[in-house]
Symmetry: C2
Subunit: 281 residues, 2 copies
């Protein structure tokens, strides 16, 4: 039997149609106003420039605007904080994305945390994380929230299941674990210091690979019938999990590419539209 | 062989001596200023009144002052928020404790979260939790931080160990899991929806019982040589874990009473002294 493919690309496309309709509706009701996402790119890293461009393009596809802020690689923490404060205060800006990573002289955590809670549509602030983890209203961190939306769209049951999250980064493993816990899964968080990693993964009903190393998690560590979520993407179109042998014996899996990746940007614009509706609508 | 007793009472007493010396030193340097903890008691619940009194007594034992605020049970959210803002703005107040629970007409979460980060010496704000979980500076939630201090005092190794936290409350299970993860343990969080709880607990090198039900966790679910932390306290002097059979075969355990309990208030005053030193010193 083939595993169910958790098709993030298809869900993202379908969601874009719904978001386009919501943006059109908001425009019609408000005399032409649209949600606006401010994107901040600091420096000239080509990969970061590409990501920011993709995010701006996604905004335009659904009829939203993006306000593109580009700052030189010599930008100081104070200058970036001042720009974020300006965007926080701008009533026409509904969401703020600060593209990671920023040049090393900048205190990135301080800059992320300067983003106003109601404009933190990428879900990167400590306050937003804390509120989400405590079950209070906050935008979720884009990648794990995208994974939750994908699992929900396919009616994957989480309550009472044992989820094993491999990785504990601030924007992936930690919020992923908190979201799965909020969905009533029993959650284990593994990481680089975990002993007997394979033994932990073997018990998982749901595995989330978020380690950033190509095919680090081996297929034979994963039990038959598990739900496999691969949040990695590496050159050659492979993720963090050895997926090929699982396409038959998993219950469901996210392909690479086309699984988790499209849901990240989709969640960013999904949350931006929500923020726009709250402030314009 | 008898298990090592993690004696919270003794550690708290020893720490109080150290804190007394630090407070005396601060007074001498600052012309008589002492750290001040503001305690807020809303309503007339006798148990809450007792807890607040114990916290005030602990302050006085180490030479700190406490500013005791008592509000009627009819207090509104707005009135309580106004009082917290007043204490936030008062430069002579170095820590704020809002005694849980508040009367039900009050939005307790909003009131907790109104406490300024630098005065949140009880570690109850979403912002403080988020910062702690992300490895940023913040006071830890008093009970789990007290447990971490107790484990550290006895040199209990956490890195690479499998810690199973049973319970996911905002002031115990969730911050406990985040602190153990920060200490490089592999962490599993179990709760009321967990299936096969005993099987999860059997794997634990470190078990933390934080469920609030007397002896809910059975001794025979716990493997020989585990470190057993019982954060519960119930009438009759029992905790959340059936401890008696473990006193021989655990590696270490927290007694009830005299284990975790004394460390909670101790951590509150420990963090209050730290806050006082930062602002006065």
């Amino acid at each position: 039997m083939s595993a169910l493919v958790l098709d993030g690309k298809a869900l993202a496309q379908k969601t874009e149609e719904e978001l386009s309709a919501r943006v059109a509706d908001l425009k019609a009701k408000s005399g032409g106003q649209t949600p606006i996402l401010a994107t901040i790119l600091v420096g000239d890293d080509p990969a970061s420039a590409t990501y920011v461009k993709m995010k701006g393009n996604a905004c335009r596809r659904i009829g939203m605007d993006s306000l593109q802020v580009e700052l030189p690689s010599s930008t100081t923490t104070e200058q970036l904080l001042a720009k974020i404060e300006e965007l926080n205060a701008n009533p026409n800006v509904h969401g703020i994305l600060l593209q990671h990573p920023v040049p090393e002289q900048i205190d990135e955590r301080a800059c992320f945390d300067a983003i106003a809670l109601t404009k933190d549509v990428d879900g990167v602030t400590c306050l937003g994380f804390g509120r989400m983890a405590m079950g209070e209203e906050a935008y979720g961190c884009a990648t794990p929230k995208g994974i939750m939306r994908l699992l929900e769209a396919y009616n994957i049951e989480l309550e009472g299941k044992h989820a094993v999250v491999v990785g504990r980064s601030p924007i992936l493993g930690k919020p992923m674990a908190a979201m799965l816990l909020n969905a009533n899964a029993t959650v284990t968080i593994c990481h680089s210091r975990t002993k007997n990693l394979a033994d932990h993964i073997r018990q998982a009903d749901i595995v989330v690979g978020a380690v950033g190393r190509p095919e680090f998690i081996k297929a034979d560590w994963i039990k038959d019938g598990a739900v496999v979520v691969d949040a990695g993407y590496h050159p050659g179109g492979v993720g963090d999990i050895e997926l090929e042998p699982l396409t038959e014996r998993a219950a469901a899996y996210t392909p690479v590419p086309g699984g988790v990746g499209p849901m990240t940007i989709n969640t960013l614009i999904y949350q931006s539209v929500d923020s726009g509706e709250k402030k314009i609508g």
